[in-house]
């Protein structure tokens, strides 16, 4: 056994707080270590070359690199030693950066810990066995979760690239948040005019299969071969028959249903098509408001429907689709006004959210594009916008910036002046965040050309006084308290992750941050990948972002899937569980504990029942190995012997 150990300085990242030379000297003393050295950047090309040369020069057959996290460069170095002729599983990585140099300042203690960690890696690499990947076929279909602009872009790009796409949207129409917007910054082009054609493309694309008003029920499988269970929620309207004529909506006597599309700006009918450009343009019943459901009698829509599409007995339906990759574009949600009690907590009708204001501005909104304040349907002359309504606010658990409020507030202030020329808008802001192309100029235009008064300070309180809403804030530049008597107040409410983001993440086996936003594989270099291979991210489910960024990510995720599907076969990871049939007693505890359903029962020729691992399904989590009462099932590359060798090395040291 001839082990080579390569210790990386990582510039000053490691060498700054670990005495790497001393570590190398110590490691060299371990029996079996034939070579130990340090290098400034082991991952660089010359660094990798040095490993290759050392393998030849010292006749090394096991390699340890002590550097960063294996998440970062394990694959890099496995490739390096493979090129030098070694099996790539004769390799261990000791993480002395994230686990040591970045977290401790005491150089002496760090150095000692580094020696311990590398000693363990050496002990393990000596126990490592050569492993070989097998290859399997890819199902070249892709699932896109979420039909907002990011998801639609991803679906269209995949479809245009020749892939079959399954697009699942939880609301009755695709379009997402963008379909609610009136105009878009900084060009003031009509949102639905540029989005509408994309929505139609999605509907008409022969490669895209759309499941609207549907949700992901369950996900099984692995990259290349996923089985997806989709819940088609009951709409109580047979969409194969519905023509979207709207007769039902017109005659429906229940007029007070909550309008999800319009964010409750005005009520809608219990049976409704969410908006004129909806895709699919189909009606749906809201059983919380429909009299047939709440009172047990009505039936008006069933009588009126010319195609007899109404079905009050409809149940949710589960369908299964098989795909090879998944793009998650599940979007975001907005802070509820109730969370802002000092701004009225939703009790005052003339204090509304930015997205509600979009609907008031929009020609197909409830006011047909006339800005009318909700309390008395009059035109507001003084409109106050409050930026950071909940954002950058640790006290309510949203310490981050919501990214696009500064911009849409400038846009809404400009549009307000367009709609009501004798109006005056005020914007309370903390910082104007407008780093995009043409963005800062846009916020300047609001102030210079449209006379919007920007006030640098937060708003402390909003309260009614007669027919006005008093907005009490600070002008920190003047160093004083200020008050504006407004007719209408628009709050730039904080962007939140979806309420069910965590549940979906758990189905996908991807990670999410404290705030429920999905975590990308690398914040700079792998922005649309996740740490689960085959699952990609696009849009605001990863963090607040505006339309151009979301569209960019949609395309990026699609290109990642197209690249993945450019091969016909994928290599499997051989670090999976393996059953020793001589030891297995057939208790099948492992079958029951496996979270991936990767173990099945197998009858041998002699009639004996044993467990059998489906290699491609096994995710290598190791739950089965700790469950097995007789040690018959072992996770390759992490066997009991290999792990105990590490433990022994640590305890003896």
């Amino acid at each position: 056994m001839r082990v080579g150990v390569f210790i990386c300085h990582c510039g000053n990242n490691i060498a700054g707080t670990v005495d790497v030379k001393a570590v190398a000297d110590e490691i060299r003393k371990i029996p079996g270590v034939a070579h130990a050295t340090t290098y400034m950047y082991t991952c660089s090309e010359p660094g990798q070359d040095e490993i290759k040369q050392a393998i030849k020069q010292y006749n090394l057959n096991r390699i340890v690199v002590a550097a960063c996290s294996p998440r970062m460069h394990e694959l890099t170095f496995r490739r390096t030693i493979e090129k030098a002729g070694l099996n790539k599983y004769y390799f261990e990585m000791a993480n002395i950066r994230e686990h040591i140099s970045w977290v401790g300042e005491n150089k002496e203690a760090n150095t000692k810990k580094a020696i311990d960690v590398i000693t363990m890696a050496v002990a393990k690499v000596m126990q490592d066995k050569p492993l070989f990947s097998s290859s399997f076929k890819i199902n070249k279909r892709v699932l896109v979760i979420g039909g907002g602009v990011a998801g639609m872009q991803a679906a269209l790009d995949c479809g245009d690239g020749g892939l079959e796409v399954v697009l699942v949207e939880k609301s009755p129409s695709v379009g997402g948040m963008m379909s609610r917007l009136d105009k878009t910054f900084p060009t003031i082009d009509c949102s639905i005019c540029i989005l509408g054609p994309k929505m139609v493309d999605v509907a008409q694309h022969d490669k895209i299969k759309l499941y609207a008003y549907s949700e992901i029920e369950d996900i099984k499988g692995y990259v290349g071969n996923y089985q997806i269970k989709i819940r088609k929620k009951a709409t109580y309207v047979d969409w194969t028959k519905c023509t979207g004529c709207g007769a039902c909506m017109e005659k429906c006597p229940s007029r007070n249903a909550y309008d999800y599309f319009n964010f409750g700006v005005a009520p809608t009918k219990a049976i409704n098509i969410p908006f004129p450009q909806a895709i699919p343009k189909k009606a749906k019943i809201d059983p919380n408001y429909c009299r047939q459901f709440t009172k047990g009698k009505c039936g008006v829509c069933a009588k009126i429907c010319p195609t007899k599409a109404i079905n009050y007995e409809m149940q949710d339906e589960i369908v299964t689709e098989e795909v090879g990759a998944i793009i998650v574009a599940s979007g975001y949600s907005l802070l509820d006004l109730e969370r802002l009690p000092e701004y009225g907590g939703g009790r005052y009708p003339d204090v509304i959210s930015g997205i509600q204001y979009e609907r008031l501005l929009n020609a197909s909104g409830p006011t047909a594009g006339h800005i009318l304040r909700p309390s008395d349907n009059t035109e507001p002359k003084t409109v106050v916008f409050v930026a950071c309504a909940g954002s950058r606010d640790k006290s309510i658990g949203v310490p981050y910036c919501s990214n696009f409020c500064c911009m849409y507030i400038a846009k809404q202030a400009i549009l307000t002046k367009d709609h009501i020329p004798d109006s005056q808008s005020y914007v309370f802001y903390m910082d104007i965040r407008s780093p995009g192309k043409g963005y800062d100029e846009f916020t300047r235009r609001a102030q210079e050309d449209y006379g919007v008064k920007y006030i640098r300070g937060r708003v402390s309180r909003i309260y009614p006084k007669g027919k006005k809403m008093v907005v009490r804030g600070a002008d920190t530049l003047l160093g004083t308290q200020v008050e504006v008597e407004a007719d209408l107040v628009v709050l730039g409410t904080a962007v939140l992750s979806n309420p069910d983001a965590a549940r979906l993440a758990e189905k996908l086996h991807i990670s999410y941050d404290t705030f429920g936003f999905y975590v990308e594989s690398h914040p700079k270099l792998r922005p649309v990948e996740t740490n689960t291979s085959g699952v990609f991210l696009a849009g605001a489910c990863q963090g607040p972002k505006d339309i151009p960024a979301s569209v960019g990510q949609g395309s990026a995720a699609a290109s990642k899937v197209l690249a993945l599907f450019s091969k016909d076969m994928l290599e499997s990871d051989p670090a999976v569980a393996k059953v020793n049939i001589n030891k297995c007693v057939g208790c099948l505890k492992c079958v029951r504990t496996c979270p991936f359903q990767a173990i099945k029962e197998n009858q041998l020729r002699d009639g004996r029942i044993v467990a059998d691992v489906i290699e491609t399904v096994c995710a290598g989590c190791g739950v089965c190995t700790s469950t097995c009462p007789c040690g018959a099932i072992q996770l390759q590359h992490f066997t009991d012997n290999q792990i105990l060798a590490e433990v022994n090395a640590l305890c003896q040291g």
């Binding site: 006597p253 009505c298 009690p341 000092e342 907590g345 009614p464 006084k465």
Partner: protein
């Protein structure tokens, strides 16, 4: 189960300018069967002036009382005055969370305090421990003409970390108690706005101006009575109301009544028993306009029937049928 016994800390101002708050609270507590005893020989809580000197010193003045209560074997002290309440709560909070602070406080005391007493306002006891149902059941009289603006003052619910009661931006406990008495409550935006607090003597003009804003907002909201829970607020709004009129050119004449007095009126007690005569701006007309609950219910019923009858007539006239 034995009934919960509370220690009742009266506080200095309830011996003097706010004697009617003390009087009416006792009436209400007795009426609702709340068991309370007074700690013997209590002293001033320290209030605002003490915490301009030193936090340990301020806590010690408060903790002397808490220690007396602890030795009586009681674990909850109730007080009417938010200033006393906060002095107790802050002392308790700091001593519980900081061992060295606790030691320093105890060094100033004769009897060590072991942090076993929690302060609750009488409002909190009535709202949470007694409950709206029991209060509503005890009502015998309604004041149909009253439109009340509930004024909590700034420190009954804030800061939330220490107050631990009701909402720090839109408290509703007093609103609901007043509603439970059958009295109309206005949507009053300045429930928590500061009246000027203890600056009345050294900064009279400032206090008058701040109090004016509170009264003006109550009148804007359509109130004909301000209902308070703090003796200092009451003093600033009632005793100083004429000052406010002189200083700011306003012309207010609005009664400022303690919520316990209002409860007493609804429970049928006489104005005298509730110290209504102690108010500077008289609230006697509300006492006079009281009607019995029975009478009130009959009146409401009659109104309802009249409405129904009118609707019926209209229907027949237009001949319109209701939607299926």
């Amino acid at each position: 189960m034995a009934k919960k016994r509370y220690a009742y800390y009266q506080g200095c101002s309830l011996e003097g300018t706010a004697v009617e708050y003390d009087k009416s609270m006792r009436v209400v507590f007795d009426a609702l069967g709340i068991d309370y005893v007074e700690p013997e020989d209590w002293s001033c809580c320290g209030s605002t002036p003490a915490h301009t000197v030193d936090h340990v010193f301020a806590a010690a003045l408060a903790a002397r009382n808490l220690s007396i209560i602890e030795n009586m074997g009681l674990d909850v002290v109730t007080t009417n005055c938010p200033s006393c309440l906060m002095a107790f709560k802050k002392a308790q909070y700091s001593m519980e969370n900081d061992e060295t602070f606790k030691e320093k406080v105890n060094e100033l005391l004769d009897e060590k305090y072991n942090c076993g007493v929690y302060a609750k306002s009488s409002l909190q006891i009535l709202y949470e421990d007694v409950g709206l149902e029991a209060i509503s059941n005890r009502v015998t009289h309604i004041i149909p003409d009253m439109k009340a603006a509930p004024y909590y003052g700034c420190i009954m619910n804030r800061p939330p970390k220490i107050a631990q009661f009701d909402d720090p931006e839109n408290p509703i406990s007093m609103d609901r108690i007043i509603s439970a008495l059958g009295i109309e409550v206005c949507d009053f935006a300045f429930k928590l706005e500061c009246c000027g607090a203890a600056f009345g003597v050294p900064k009279r003009k400032m206090v008058n101006e701040l109090s004016k804003k509170v009264i003006a907002m109550a009148e804007d909201a359509g109130a004909n009575c301000i209902v308070v829970a703090c003796p200092l607020c009451q003093q600033n709004l009632d005793l100083r109301q004429e000052q406010i009129n002189q200083t700011t050119g306003s012309n207010f004449n609005i009664p400022v009544i303690y919520f316990t007095q209002l409860m007493g009126l609804a429970f049928g007690y006489t104005p005298k028993e509730l110290g209504l005569d102690k108010l500077i701006v008289s609230a006697d007309h509300f006492a006079r306009s009281r009607i019995t609950k029975q009478e009130y219910l009959e009146r409401e019923k009659a109104k309802e029937q009249e409405k129904k009858a009118k609707k019926e007539v209209k229907k027949q006239e237009t001949g319109e049928e209701e939607n299926p």
